[in-house]
């Protein structure tokens, strides 16, 4: 195998429209590997759409039209005939509000492993434990692994979702405002986790809190009404914004 490219994800003239409404316009971005990339911008500017286009989750919705190239690990994943589940497996998704699957805590984490027949029963337990430890949830749930996952608190659920995603050993973790539904303590826990995870994974974080982006981001992409107005290393973008909109966003004139 060749050396992993420095850019994990790259898009070339990516266009996305719902019905006749174009949500993303000519997106050309690069997302560096093993770093935390924050996608920022006002609400309703296509941040989530961009995130979900990375693992081809958009196409399960009605009337979506996607054109352009989306290069992950050097391959265009928009090419027809590719195995979509395999593409998705590489990228874990953490949604805004945690959605534990309707099963036990254990089964939630084991779900992906079972699907891919990755582990025998003994190894499965070990893998589940490891994933839960990775998100710091093991000690909280080890006595009630077989309780329905819906009994956990929202913060715990969000970490469970993270553990569930990590269990299938993805390369990328896509996070869609993962802390916006959490209380401050739980939010901080998740944020710290993301910082820890970027050593081993490429993390893409959609956030509409500018302060969060400033705290954690290595690389920043600024979306404004479906266009990328700014992208680059975080300190550059934050200290030396080029576009008027980014300046306005940073100063809090638009949010």
């Amino acid at each position: 195998m060749t050396k992993a490219p420095a850019n994990q994800i790259e898009t070339k003239t990516l266009n996305v429209s719902f019905h006749s409404n174009q949500v993303l316009k000519n997106i050309d971005i690069k997302i560096p590997a093993k770093q935390l990339t924050a996608i920022i911008g006002p609400s309703g500017c296509g941040k989530t759409t961009l995130l979900k286009s990375f693992n081809r989750l958009l196409e399960i919705q009605d009337d979506v039209k996607i054109t352009g190239e989306l290069i992950v690990d050097g391959t265009d994943i928009m090419k027809p005939g590719l195995d979509v589940p395999d593409i998705r497996k590489k990228m874990g998704l953490i949604s805004q509000k945690p959605y534990p699957l309707p099963m036990s805590i254990f089964e939630n984490v084991a779900y992906g492993l079972r699907i891919h027949h990755d582990k025998k029963a003994k190894a499965l337990e070990a893998a589940v434990q490891q994933s839960l430890q990775e998100v710091g949830l093991w000690n909280e749930v080890k006595h009630r692994l077989h309780d329905p996952a819906s009994r956990l608190s929202v913060g715990q659920q969000q970490r469970l979702c993270l553990a569930r995603a990590l269990a299938v050993q993805p390369e990328v973790i896509l996070c869609d405002e993962p802390t916006s539904a959490l209380d401050p303590v739980a939010a901080q826990q998740v944020e710290k986790l993301l910082l820890k995870l970027k050593k081993d994974y490429t993390v893409v974080l959609v956030t509409h809190t500018l302060r969060q982006a400033k705290r954690v981001a290595d690389y920043v992409i600024f979306l404004y009404f479906g266009r990328v107005l700014e992208q680059g290393p975080a300190n550059e973008v934050f200290t030396n914004p080029k576009s008027a909109e980014m300046k306005a966003y940073l100063s809090g004139e638009i949010s």
Partner: protein, 352 residues
């Protein structure tokens, strides 16, 4: 209730002002003795009074409305008990006349010689209902999944009205079609396929078949409803772990909409269990347990339909039929309770 109304009437500034103006008008009439002033004050007083009355009647109507709706609602519950009481009272005669055990465990139904054993009919009813559900549930579920998860949007929107209309077609129409189409098919093709060459086409299987066709639209419609209420994000969570669509349907969608599916099945069961006219047209109307699924039988509901014309010639038959009705009522009641309990457990277990 009365105190609030009284408050509205009395404790308002408007009333005090109106009374004050009325007093002024009296003063102007008797003390100042000025008719014009009196008339003026009186007019103002009347206007204020009218406005106040409108204000009060609004609240009065609201209050009355609430009461009336409550009375209607409560009488609905009363109706339930009234029905149960009527059935109990009506079947008293037959239970006194014959033992309950004989009614339920004897297969001897000969109204003219005074035998009212319902065992065969009860078993037939259970068989017909069970077979129809076995046919209907898997097919309906697959259809519902296809509609919500796989079908293109245009097709989905097109097919919904068809299913809704099917659900509303009167059962006698289904019965007639079964009589004209299903009976010959069962007689000539399906029964011989299973090695039964003597079938007349009228029998338990034909009844099950038409019942399953009748419950399709109900189960499909309700399942589509509950599948489409599963949040997109839950499906995304499963898909993003690299599962295929079918794995997501099987492991996530089914559980997440489990309570809804169960409710749909219960409702379909109720329909199949109680369906009368369509069944009575094709079931064969023989109060016995046939040796094969293709032989003639009788169900509880259809028994009432095919015997009620004889009620005037055999006095105790009326009571026997009411007892059958009571059985139907009780089974539906028990099934509803069961459904409620299962549903509550399921929604706890499969919460997402």
């Amino acid at each position: 209730m009365s105190s609030t109304l009284k408050d509205t009437i009395l404790k308002q500034k408007m009333v005090l002002i109106a009374l004050f103006i009325f007093l002024l008008s009296l003063l102007s009439l008797f003390i100042v003795q000025n008719v014009v002033l009196f008339a003026l004050f009186l007019v103002v007083f009347i206007i204020l009074l009218l406005r106040h009355l409108i204000h009060v009647t609004r609240k009065l109507y609201n209050l009355l409305g609430t009461r009336i709706m409550m009375i209607i609602t409560v009488s609905m519950i009363f109706l339930f008990f009234l029905l149960l009481l009527t059935l109990l009272q009506g079947s008293f005669q037959i239970i006194n006349d014959q033992s309950l055990a004989e009614l339920i465990f004897s297969s001897n139904w000969k109204p003219f010689s005074g035998h009212f054993g319902l065992f065969a009919v009860i078993i037939d009813t259970l068989i017909v209902t069970a077979v129809s559900m076995v046919i209907a549930v898997p097919i309906s579920l697959l259809t519902a999944i296809y509609i919500t998860e796989y079908a293109p949007k245009k097709f989905r929107q097109m097919i919904r009205p068809f299913i809704d209309v099917l659900a509303g077609v009167p059962s006698v129409v289904f019965g007639l079609c079964a009589l004209l189409v299903l009976v010959p098919i069962v007689r000539d093709s399906i029964a011989p396929l299973f090695g039964v060459s003597t079938s007349s086409g009228f029998g338990l299987f034909t009844a099950s078949l038409i019942l399953s066709i009748m419950v399709f639209p109900i189960i499909i419609s309700l399942c589509v409803e509950s599948f489409s209420s599963v949040p997109l994000a839950l499906k995304e969570a499963s898909l993003s772990l690299g599962s295929t669509k079918w794995e997501t349907v099987k492991k996530v969608l089914f559980r997440a909409s489990g309570p809804g599916i169960l409710a749909a099945i219960f409702l379909g069961f109720g329909r199949a269990f109680g369906e009368t006219i369509a069944v009575s047209m094709v079931v064969g109307n023989q109060e016995l347990i046939p040796s094969t699924l293709f032989g003639p039988g009788q169900t509880l509901a259809s028994l009432i339909a095919s015997n009620y014309t004889e009620v005037s010639s055999i006095p105790i038959l009326a009571s026997a039929l009411i007892f059958v009705a009571l059985l139907l009522f009780i089974v539906v009641l028990i099934f509803n309770l069961l459904g409620f309990l299962v549903l509550r457990r399921a929604s706890k277990r499969w919460k997402y």
